[in-house]
Subunit: 684 residues, 2 copies
């Protein structure tokens, strides 16, 4: 028998549920790594993780390491022995490295050579070491000790099963002597469970009311929760992280439907959901319209004969939490949302930049400025900006920070604020992450941009630029958020003018020197990565960046046009021509005529290029003004032939300085036409 | 018996249906006017109008005019007789005016006096004259003669009933001798009908299958059409004008449901509806989704024993019309919509301004320019502009001009153009009249504005300014349409820049001299009437107009703010102060200091005004930039007190020229703050 199954199960006190899956995966990976470096082959592997155990099964693990042969090359034979046939230092060094006497070295070839066969060791003797070092490498931020022992682990250990084939591996790890006695469910099967073999591990435990397989428990919970939700004519909210956590809390999952009082539905449902999910680990149910049902699903760890008791226990536990939420909601509603600004005047946003209320006032004015420029409603945006931070001072957000923005929405509606103003209080935080939802309203967009830009300008203005991975105010995310809103919602905003306005709101609090272009560059720099992700070549981005559009939407429209232009057959030649012109002009050093005068032309190709430029100029200018950049570039593509003909026939640096200056003027005009869209010389 | 009912019924050949209701109403009004001026009282009146008759019934008409007494005052008695007791010229003149001898004049009072009693005449002798003159005054564009007679009326007359009480009024009008014999339904009751009395008129005719009452017939048709439509699980399209017309075509209305072949539903339903309504006077049916049903309702004039025959007759009549529409639709679809532009190159838009295709090209570029500035999509707008006139060259629009725009929409969709491009082809004509629907898309808005502005610029550019009621290109409506779209859809567009761009598209075709401001003024002039209609005082309009906002939306936002400002208690004093400052500055004649220098102040109120202005300046500028005009004016309202105190304490025209120039500078600064929103000196 050259291979047999291996099982290791470490029993512990209850493991931290949020880490359980990670611990299991790392345990398996560590063992696999150890087996591999020991040269022990196997045909398959599995990890099992449950609240009180981590286990790994290795299928058909080799019982013995293979024999290995080691071949080492040494110095040339000529250099290994002196004239007298005595070994040189080099030869002696090589023998020492091989760990043998010089006589054991093979000198038959052109070089010294040493070959050795190392016999494989039995696997059973290596397993304890491999398991131990995998456990030592587990990602555990803080290990604990227990009792009077010096061993450390994430939780105190309680038993250890280690079987290789049907035999116990004789060892002790983390204070536990290995055996074949595992333990069953804490209540359903308090006795020990004898594991007959690694292959029977799962089934042996199953009969002791333990589903050791994490994935199986997870899928069972998920299906059962969905079924129960459907029976309630609802659908369950099942965030993957919550499902993982619940899976990590139970050995024998039994989902049960519980109820809460309907009156709690008057409280914003996000608050109820937050408390039920985060504090109680319950799954909440929504009806077909997305409204919370007065039901939740708890996952019990026991198959009770009297589930009603478990249900009523859970209902009793959740009630004070919901009552709290209801109390906060009622309490907060006793005053108008805007009156919370008084408290925010005493809350510091940033020491040098003043209070949170100061920020709200700046955001208010800036949001109005932006709204006026994106087709929004300035007074609505100003109102939303003024209210934007108020909910931070409410009891509700104090207790449930996740309700920030959402609480503001509910309180604003309660005060009779317009719908878009209320929505903006939540939408100001959008997008909340990469690819996340954008504001749905213009008012929300204005406030979202204003809030982010105010932070950018303020933090840059006191010199706290993000460096490397340090970006405590999430300024990169803020800049990307501004860009996403403007580009994806097709809002045309002059960012330069907006930044200037934002800076003015800070008065003397920020250092204005070069601040506007610093912030503007920082924002437009973010576009580069965005375009790379979209498969737009960085040269296209740079070609547009070179002409400094101030509106991200306009920037994007130019990028799309240049990207399309690149596919034209004329693009390459024109890019090269532009580069050539750009080089020529950079050396022209003022010797460019003020206007183009035809009487200096001396070649038909000069006349034709001039005529073509005139005609293109006439057509392209209005196209660029109308932002028909693709059409403008398509027109300019027509210049390829006359440009090529010109460079083939004409020497730009003519001897006559007037002729030369005139030619420079012609080329400068050519280049200015392209620069109306982008600097395509950078495409080369 | 002092009063009795009066009836007049004029029988004619079939009256023009579109005019019937108007003719009836005018007939009644003319008779009422005649009775009033004859002093004949009555208790009620009614008009009846049917295809072959106009009738008026007057209730309880006085049988006799009342007696009248005439009292006339003459010259004073002292001036009426000379020393010898002979009448003076004045006295003789008065007697002559009264038509009696001087001896019949009463000289007992302080003035000469003449009283006379005029006995009333019997009404019966006056009625013929009253009826005749009412008939002569009917609003008939063209009267006709018939047979060899010299009488003229809208249609040949056929009988006349005139009863006063139970008696026939003995007279002849429009070639008909009055009697009591009316006529019944042309088919159901070809014999004459004896009208027993005015009160029985309606019922006598009803028994002869004539519903003489227009309103009763109209309501009967409307209800029956609705019932039949509901039976077909649809709703009927019942334009009021069509209902009036059908009501005017039948004496005994019998609505019937007919069908047409389902295959015609592949044709744009607007074309089918147009032909069925306009040519056949049918009511069309829609299903719950607004889709045409293959049914229509015709209103027969007879109660047929075999309605199926009438139904099949109508179905036979409509078929060729629907087949035509289907043919045009199929024919047009054989080519792409954009290919119709080739035909439009040969269709003149306006002799000096080129072809319709030229217009489409201009509109395309202008629409893209506008789209880029209102948050729209330039390439989409350009495409829609280029297609905008194509359907004018289609067979469909050639046959059904009402399909203009709608046909373009269907053909564009058929060609796979984007939905907003297709919609824009119809929306370009919006708003189609006062209060009518506006474009729903940004692309449609851009093209609608571009089309109107191109016409305005072009027609103004060749000097064809609208004068008085002559406005053949409907430029006033075009200007109002542009304003409505921009203001009501809250689109912020710099109209000045847009006009300049529009002018450039015409090149040398228009005279550019002062054209931009001519067009801009013409458009903004239209706002005046718009605001008057909304109850905004013209002074508010003028105050905003004075600062020349270039965006109609911005204009409107300022108007709303100034309107609100007027209601503030500070408004009146500040308007007066602004007027005073404006007057002072207009006479300052250059004697205004460049800056304000505090060392020239000599009164505390100068210092306080200066401080208040500084503070307001700081607050107001960002507010105005953010278009928070109400908030800006509310800030400025705070200046009332320091301004009043300044004028109470300080003599502006100080003797020291430096002090005076400094005061002017202070006032100039004050005024500039207000001018950032509007010239409120005009509110005074």
């Amino acid at each position: 028998m050259s291979a047999q199954d291996f099982l290791v199960e470490l029993g512990t006190e209850e493991l931290p549920p949020k880490a359980l899956k990670t611990l299991g995966d790392a345990f398996l990976a560590g063992i696999e790594k150890g087996l591999k470096s020991a040269g022990l082959s196997y045909s398959g592997s599995r990890v099992y993780a449950a609240p009180r155990r981590l286990a790994v099964v290795i299928d058909q693990l080799a019982v013995q390491q293979p024999d290995r042969s080691v071949n080492m090359d040494g110095p040339p034979v000529q250099a290994a022995f002196d004239a007298d046939g005595n070994p040189t230092q080099a030869a002696l060094g090589f023998a020492k490295k091989c760990g043998v006497d010089i006589s054991a070295i093979d000198r038959s070839g052109p070089k010294l050579k040493f070959s050795q066969s190392i016999p494989g060791q039995p696997a059973v003797g290596l397993l304890a070491g491999i398991v131990t070092s995998s456990l030592n490498d587990l990602p555990i931020p803080k290990r604990m000790r227990w009792g009077a022992r010096k061993e450390e682990f994430v939780r105190p250990t309680q038993w250890l099963v280690m079987l290789f084939g049907d035999e116990v591996v004789d060892c002790e790890i983390l204070a536990q002597k290995a055996g074949r006695e595992s333990r069953g469910h804490r209540f359903h099967h308090p006795d020990s469970v004898r594991i007959s073999s690694p292959a029977n591990y799962l089934e042996d435990l199953r009969s002791a009311y333990v589903l050791a397989d994490f994935a199986e428990r997870r899928s069972l919970i998920s299906k059962r929760v969905d079924t129960l939700a459907a029976e309630q004519k609802g659908s369950a909210i099942v965030p993957p992280a919550l499902l993982d956590e619940v899976t990590a809390l139970v050995e024998w999952p039994v989902p049960l439907v519980c109820s809460f009082e309907e009156r709690f539905l008057a409280v914003p449902q996000e608050a109820l959901i937050t408390t039920m999910q985060d504090n109680q680990k319950y799954f909440c149910l929504l009806d077909a319209n997305g409204k919370l049902l007065p039901r939740f699903i708890t996952v019990a760890n026991v198959e009770s004969k009297d589930p009603a008791q478990i249900i009523s226990g859970n209902e009793k536990v959740v009630r004070p939490r919901l009552t709290d939420a209801e109390f906060f909601f009622k309490q907060d509603k006793k005053q108008k949302l805007d009156s919370f600004n008084a408290r925010l005047a005493n809350v510091v946003f940033q020491a040098q930049l003043g209070s949170v209320f100061d920020k709200a006032e700046r955001v208010s004015l800036l949001a109005a400025f932006i709204a006026a420029r994106i087709g929004g409603d300035s007074p609505r945006a100003a109102r939303a900006g003024l209210l934007s931070k108020c909910d931070l001072a409410t009891e509700m957000v104090g207790e449930f920070p996740e309700m920030q923005g959402i609480a503001g929405y509910y309180y604003a509606l309660n005060d009779g604020e317009p719908e878009d103003v209320a929505l903006a209080l939540n939408e100001q935080y959008m997008p909340r992450g990469a690819g996340a939802e954008l504001p749905s309203t213009l008012t929300g967009s204005a406030v979202a941009i204003a809030d982010k830009l105010d932070t950018l300008v303020g933090i840059f203005g006191i010199g706290m630029l993000p460096t490397g991975s340090k970006d405590p105010y999430a300024l990169r995310r803020a800049a990307l958020g501004i860009l996403r809103i403007l580009i994806e919602k097709k809002l045309d905003l002059d960012l330069a003018a907006t930044i200037t306005f934002a800076i003015e709101q800070f008065g003397a609090k920020v250092k204005n020197d070069g601040l506007a272009s610093l912030v503007q560059d920082f924002i437009f720099d973010r576009l580069r990565a965005r375009y790379e992700d979209e498969g737009v070549d960085v040269a296209v981005y740079q070609a547009v960046r070179a002409v400094n559009p101030v509106s991200p939407l306009d920037f994007d429209q130019r990028v799309q046009a240049v990207q399309a232009f690149r596919a034209l057959p004329e693009a390459e030649a024109l890019a090269a021509a532009n580069k050539r012109v750009s080089n020529l002009l950079s050396k022209a050093d003022g010797n460019v005529a003020a206007g183009i005068e035809a009487h200096y032309f001396d070649s038909p190709s000069e006349f034709s290029l001039n005529a073509a430029i005139q005609q293109a100029d006439h057509a392209v200018q209005p196209l660029a003004q109308a932002r028909l950049y693709s059409e403008a570039l398509a027109q300019l593509a027509g210049l390829r032939e006359p440009v090529d003909a010109f460079f083939a026939a004409v020497m730009v640096n003519a001897e006559d300085p007037s002729v030369r200056a005139n030619r420079y003027a012609l080329l400068a005009k050519l280049r200015s036409l392209f620069l109306g869209v982008a600097d395509i010389s950078l495409l080369g």
